[in-house]
Subunit: 423 residues, 2 copies
């Protein structure tokens, strides 16, 4: 492995020579780098991703580039995001358990590369949902992952010193945070240069950008995201950041990790299932996707139910941080006081996650980074017909988030809006 401090992007041709001396790789793949097969598989917006296979086994090498891959060298982006991804992965594994993220074999800060487990036969969850595949474990696995990482990364569980040190560490992830702050919360709501949307949506886009209540709420959500340093977020927890099989679920790509409100990760996650719902009409033949729609709504319900149950269990068993101290509740015989506080925390989280879900839907249809659920619908007319009800649904969530009572109510609304758009 190169010991040089000066960054150099890997290629499939140079990778064996450059990483061939790395014991964690030779032990796993086989001692002769000449026998390794390397292919670049990165389909994301930012980085290089190599799958390396040798006689004995396989690994993934993910390397950051000093710019946004999707845009090019005109948009520089610090290599340090690899550092934050590495530190987020180690924390997520510690908090959610081994087997919830890829196993990390090696991190090289100067080369901004992480060597990790090659997940196979896993597929990107978003791809599976587009294909109409129903993966049975994701609702439960993702509900647990969110509850455990968000609870255990907060002042509910950590010591104040430890959390503040982590807050300071991740506060330096400025450029990636800035992408979220601007691309999610601001750009979709005016004619920003990087925006694009499917032709045909113009009247609705104009309506949304003239919608004062929506704009104010989006900016309040940005304020919440930027100011509420409550826990270490994944920061980009959508269905493209999840790899799954029938029996396994892994969360990947936390380079957007930062301290923020718990509701952000949960809201973004649910939003991507709702978008999948609205996109199904673009992928179906003869109403073939009705069971898929039911599966998606059931998965949303399950994620939120499992999240609440696990968060509540952790509240009762691991609430050892400085917040909601046992000394004023349980230790004074007032366990019900702690339950009342839990209700308030979950209620606020619910209100906020609906808002974050709403803006996530908007930015995926109106902003720079669209998602494949809609993008793979080749017929633009059909795509716009799927996206329009999603936009209206997102607006409803963002603006009415304090007046929505249950996940069943939201799902029923999504199903109705979707059905009416297809009628």
């Amino acid at each position: 492995m190169t010991k040089s401090d000066s960054f150099e992007a890997l290629t499939p041709e140079t990778l064996p020579a450059r990483l061939g001396g790395l014991p964690v790789l030779t032990a796993r793949l086989g001692a002769d780098p000449g026998a390794w097969a390397v292919r670049e598989v990165g389909d994301g917006n930012l980085n290089l991703v190599f799958v390396v296979e040798g006689p004995k086994g396989s690994a993934v090498v993910k390397q950051a580039l000093p710019y946004v891959r999707l845009v090019g060298e005109s948009w520089p982006l610090p290599l340090k995001r690899s550092f934050f991804e590495y530190h987020a992965l180690t924390r997520q594994q510690a908090r959610a358990g081994k087997g919830t993220v890829p196993e990390i074999y090696h991190f090289d800060e100067a080369q901004a590369l992480i060597v990790m487990e090659y997940l196979t036969p896993h597929v990107i969850l978003r791809r599976a949902l587009i294909d109409g595949r129903k993966l049975p474990r994701i609702g439960r696995d993702l509900g647990l992952f969110a509850a455990r990482t968000l609870f255990r990364g907060s002042d509910l569980a950590m010591t104040a010193r430890e959390r503040k040190q982590d807050l300071a560490l991740f506060a330096d992830n400025v450029e990636l945070c800035d992408i979220t702050e601007n691309l999610v919360f601001t750009d979709p709501y005016f004619e920003a240069e990087l925006n694009r949307h499917t032709p045909g949506l113009e009247p609705l886009v104009a309506e949304l950008r003239a919608d004062r209540d929506l704009k104010v709420e989006a900016q309040r959500l940005k304020h919440l995201f930027a100011a509420k340093a409550e826990t270490l977020l994944h920061g980009d927890l959508h269905t493209g950041s999840i790899m799954a099989t029938e029996g396994d679920t892994r969360v990947i790509d936390p380079e957007f990790a930062c301290y923020g409100p718990m509701a952000f990760d949960v809201g973004m996650l649910l939003a991507n299932f709702w978008m999948s719902l609205f996109s199904q009409a673009g992928h179906e033949e003869d109403n073939s996707r009705e069971p898929m729609r039911a599966y998606l709504l059931a998965t949303v319900t399950e994620i939120w139910a499992v999240f609440r149950a696990e968060f509540s269990a952790l509240w009762r068993s691991e609430r050892n941080g400085m917040l909601y101290a046992r000394s004023v509740f349980e230790e004074r015989g007032d366990a019900l006081g702690a339950e009342q506080a839990l209700d308030r925390v979950l209620h606020e989280l619910w209100d906020d996650l609906l808002g974050f879900a709403g803006v996530e839907i908007h930015r995926r249809i109106l902003g720079l980074a669209h998602n494949a659920d809609f993008e793979t619908i080749a017929d633009e007319g059909l795509r716009a017909k799927c996206e329009a009800p999603a936009l209206r649904f997102g607006r409803h969530l963002a603006v009415n988030r304090h007046r929505i009572h249950s996940i069943e109510e939201v799902n029923a609304l999504a199903a109705r809006i979707d059905r009416e758009a297809r009628a």
Copy 2:
């Protein structure tokens, strides 16, 4: 001046020899340190404070001790608080203007000492209020100070990178933050070892510590304080941290500075005026303090009115940070959208400041750090009679903060509770 890195506490005897080589001091006081008169005047809970006077002028030397002065060496406290105080003072001066804090002449990190302007004939505002003095400028000056420091230290005004760097810097002020987190929000609500209260209050104290809604709200406020890293707070903005004359107001002692919610500083500040109101009965003869009570309530009204007006003016003229971007409001001809957002921000700030005011009142009567307004009432029966209505008032604010409409309503309630307690 000593160049040694090892900390050594100053004494009036050693100060001239140790600081006599400091050009900023000799230039101000006179070249011969032997002609300096030094007295230690620290009456706070934490530090040493020396007034140094020479033939040409004067200065103050404030030095941190490696423990809490009020408690002793059994409670260690890092010298680094002096570093945070220094950096907070420089930011406050930049944001609120020269003449709002003491001018800084010199900072020595290793010796944890700050050499600054000796404010004379200023008095500690709390002392003036106890004495029944009505200082005419404080309402306006403090409203402006709070609005300018809180607005300009947030994502409303700063660049994201600059604010996140400052957030990381002050995140290290763990021990001082910990004092606020525990002494303000938790200890008063159970039988913590360091608590004390005036004899006679026992039944009311028991009632408050059994009050589930109050305890839940206090913990929610702690959650807000710990998680909402919105702006650089003074962190201890009470009437003992303000020095004033008829014509000048200075804010001192920001060693508790940390990132937190804007409402915290404002709430603590107003709480200390309301406590002064409730304490007046302990200092008056023959209803002589009626005009003082009117002055205190008018000052509360003025602080909040000036704060809102200045905050609103800055919102319109200096909102150049990433929040509530002009690109989605003014630049689309939607100035009213920005006003709607301002209303929402001020409304939330209002709800939260009432809560912080409530717990501040409680901790000053039930916790470790009491205040002189009540403590100087020698007659314990009379003191308890002043403190009891203050406790009830604090409970009302904390629990009902989302259902209180105006500062006039709060002041009328305070006046009524106070009057009835004296009847």
